[in-house]
Symmetry: C4
Subunit: 247 residues, 4 copies
C-alpha cells in the first residue's frame, strides 16, 4: 500500500496476474479466451493481460500497462489484449470500479447467445447480483464495422445506464451473442463476479429445465441476501476482504 | 473418545474441519458457499466454520465454538458462519442429529429454485433418503425481514414435522429458492448427505429430461434399499463407520 | 500366468483391485457406490471388493474371495460387497465372462431410472455394444422381498436371454430404477464397459435433447464398427490387450 | 527447423505427440478414442498415433510414419491408427493443411449423432469457424462395406467442397453418426480446433435449450470475429504462434 491507501503499481500487477490465473483455475477459460485487468486511478493506468497469452500462466511482469484515457502502452513490449478498448470504456464510464474481467464461460455464454438475461431465481444469485443479470442489445452494423471493442464497452455501459443500475450492485453484463463481462472494486472482485455469473447461470439453466416458469425470488429475499454481503448493513464475513465468499 | 463414548472437543473439531474440507473436495462449494458443523451434546456446544473462510482450507483451530442455546461464541475470535442460527435451530429441534451441512451445489440448488422436491426415482436415492427430498414453503416477508437465518432453520424443521419424517431417515431438505441443508448423526454424515443429495438431484434431472413421467421407485424397492443400509436389519458395510458408502 | 495360461490368483487380485480403482479414476463412482470382481474359473473362486470400502483405495489384499457356487467366503475377513450375489448369478449364467462391474454413474443411471434402453445412435456406441443397451423389467414384489441381490442378477440374465444376445457382444444391462451392470472377458474389460456405457449414455442424452427423433445407426454401420474391434475380422489395436481402446 | 523453414521430422514427431497429449489433457478423449497426425509435405510422410495407444501417453518415438500416397508404413513397428486412411484422404484433398485430429468428444459427437450442423450462435464460434460447422451425409451401404475409413475422409472432403468452403476457414466437419474431424495448418492447430469444436458445441446445446430459436450471429459480427484472428487483417495475438488463443 502507498501512503494514501491505494495499492502500488507492483501490488496492482500482482493482483491482476492473480485474477487472470483465477479465471483459469476456476475453469472459466478455454483456449485462452478471457482476460482480467485492474486500474490505478491516481495514475490513470490500466494493467491488462497481453493478447494471446493463456490466463493460467500470467505473471505480474507479463502484464501490459496502458493509459486509461488514450489506450497507449506505457509499459510492456507485447500487444495488450484485443479487448483492451472494452475495458477502458468501462473504467471511463464507471469511476467506482477498479477491475474488469471477461470470459466465454459456457453457461453464461449460453444466456448471452440466447440473448436472455439470467433471471434471479435464488439466493446464490441474490448474494452476488442485485437483480437479473442483463443482456445488451445486439450491436449495430456500424458499431461492428467501426471501433468494435470500444463499442462493446459502450453498449455494456448503456445497458447498465438504461436500467438505472449501480455498477457495483450489478457487476456483470452479458454481451449479446458474445459472453459475460464483469467488474468490481478490484480485479479480484471482477474475477469473483466472473465465477459467480457462471455459477448462477449454471443453476438457472437447470432450474428452467425442471420448471420453465420458475418464479424469480421475491424482492425482500433478494434485498436481504444482497445486503447481507454488500453495503452498510453487511454482516457476512470478517468485515473486510470478503471477495464474494459466503457461509 | 471420552469415557462416555462421545467424542472429545478436539475430536469434534477434527471431524468438523474434515467435513468442511470434504464439501470442497467433493465439488459441492464454489466461491466458498457452504459450511458444516458438529455438536457436543453433553456440553451444548456447536463447532462451526467461520464466516467468509473457504471450506477447502478449514483447519480444526479455525473453527468457532458457540452455545447451542444462545449462539454466544465460547471459543474463537472470528465471526461464526452467518448461517449459524440455521444450524442451531436444527440442533435444538432434532435431538438425534450430531452434524449439519449446507451448500449451494448446482443440481440440488436447481430443484430448490424450481421449488420442487427431488423425486425418489431410483436406488441411488433410496440408499440415502427414505422418500422424496422435500422442499420448504417460501419464507414469508416477516420471516425474511426478521431473524432470517433462524427462520430458515425453523421452516426446515417445520417441513420435516409436517411430513411426519424422522430426521435421520430424511437427512436433507431443500430450502425454497436457496439450496440444500443436510444433517446426520455426525458432521461426516451431514457432509455425506450433502454429496448424496447432489448426486441424486443430478441423476433425477437427467432422468426427467429423458422421461418427464418417470415413475418413482415402488415402496418395496425404496424400503429394501434404505433398510439395507439403515436401521436394525442393515446388512451393508462392515457393521460400523458406514458413512454412506455402498457396494 | 500359470502353465495353462490362466492368471494366477495373485494376478487376478491385482487385476480386480486395478479394475475397482479404474472405476474411481474414471469418475464413475461417488460415495463409494460401485464394485468390480473377477473369476478364476478353474478354481471356481470369485474375487470381489469388500462392502463399504471406496473403489479408489482398493488394494489386492483387501479383496474377498468367495465360492462361485455357494458364495461362501474362502479368503478375507471383511464382508464382501452386498452385490456379491448379483455378480455370482452372472458368472453362473454366462460361462464366457471373467469379470463384472457395477456403478451408479450418472448418465447411465438416468437411462436406468427412465427405464429406457440406451439407443445406438452412433459409432461410439457401436464400437462397444452390438445394439441398444437393454434395460431390465422392474423386479416383482416377491423378488424385491426375497433374495434381492440374487434376483437382480437373474433379471439381468433374463434380459440378455430374452433378447437372444451374446453376453460378450452386449456386455452391459441397465437394471430398471437402479443402474448399469457390465462385464467382459476380464475384470479390466468389465471396467472398460462401465466407462463405455457412461460415455454412450452421456452422448445419447445430449443427442436426444438436440433431436428427439435422432435415428439409430444403420445395421451396416453398427456391424462395421463392432466388428472392427471384436471377433475374427477385428483390425483395430495391436492384436491383443485391446481393452476397449480405439483410434 | 530445416533451412527451408519447414519442421524437421523430429520436430514433427514432437508436435504430433504433443497434439495427441493435448487431446487427452483437454478432456476430449475417453477410452483412448481419438488421434492426431501431422504431415511433412516435402517428404510426403504422415506421422500418426499407433492404434490402441491412449492419446495421453503418446511419446514422439511411439508414432508411426506412413506414406501420404499409399499409406505404407515407413517407420515404426506398431499398426497405425485404424483411422489413418481418413487422415490421408484429407491430406491428399486439402494441400493447405498440415495436421488432422479426431475425437469422440461428447458435445460435438451429440451434434454428429443428431446429424445437425453446429449453428454459429456467438463469437466463441465465429472466432474459430467461419460459419456453421457442417455435418456430412450418412455414408452409403457400399461406402460402409468398402474402404470405410477412406470413404469417411472422402465424405468429409465432399462436404467441404459441396459448401464451397476453404478448409482453413472451416477446419472441422462432423461425420454423421460418428464425431468431429478437425484439421489446421499444423497438428497443434488441428488439436486446438478439436477443443474449439467441443466448446462451441457445448455452448450451442445450452443456448438451444434456453432458446430453441436462438438467432445465428449476423454476417458482420461473424466476419469481424473470424477476421480478428485469421487472414491479412488479423490483429489478435502477438503476430505469430496464435494457435487459437484469444483475449
Amino acid at each position: 500500500m502507498t501512503a494514501t491507501g491505494t495499492p502500488s503499481l507492483a501490488e496492482l500487477r500482482d493482483e491482476v496476474a492473480a485474477a487472470n490465473r483465477r479465471l483459469a483455475s476456476a475453469g472459466l477459460v478455454s483456449l485462452a479466451f478471457g482476460n482480467a485487468s485492474g486500474i490505478d486511478r491516481d495514475a490513470g493506468i490500466v494493467v491488462i493481460k497481453p493478447s494471446g497469452i493463456a490466463c493460467g500462466s500470467v505473471r505480474p511482469e507479463d502484464l501490459i500497462a496502458v493509459g486509461m484515457a488514450d489506450g497507449m502502452t506505457v509499459a510492456g513490449t507485447l500487444r495488450p489484449s484485443s479487448d483492451t478498448p472494452t475495458h477502458l470504456a468501462l473504467y471511463r464510464r464507471f469511476p467506482s470500479i477498479g477491475g474488469v474481467a471477461h470470459t466465454h464461460s459456457t453457461e453464461a455464454a449460453a444466456f448471452a447467445q440466447a440473448q436472455l438475461p439470467i433471471p434471479c431465481l435464488g439466493t446464490t444469485h441474490a448474494d452476488h447480483f442485485d437483480g437479473p443479470v442483463p443482456v445488451t442489445r445486439a450491436l449495430t452494423q456500424a458499431e461492428i464495422g467501426g471501433s468494435y471493442e470500444l463499442e462493446t464497452g459502450l453498449v455494456i455501459a448503456e445497458t447498465i445506464d438504461r436500467l438505472g443500475l449501480d455498477p457495483l450492485a450489478m457487476a456483470a453484463v452479458l454481451v449479446a451473442s458474445h459472453g459475460p463481462f464483469t467488474w468490481g472494486a478490484t480485479a479480484t472482485d471482477a474475477a469473483v463476479h466472473a465465477e459467480a455469473v457462471e455459477l448462477v447461470a449454471a443453476i438457472a439453466r437447470r432450474t428452467l429445465a425442471l420448471a420453465p416458469d420458475a418464479p424469480p425470488v421475491g424482492e425482500s429475499l433478494q434485498r436481504r441476501h444482497f445486503s447481507r454481503k454488500h453495503g452498510p448493513s453487511a454482516y457476512y464475513g470478517q468485515g473486510r476482504d470478503r471477495h464474494g465468499e459466503t457461509g
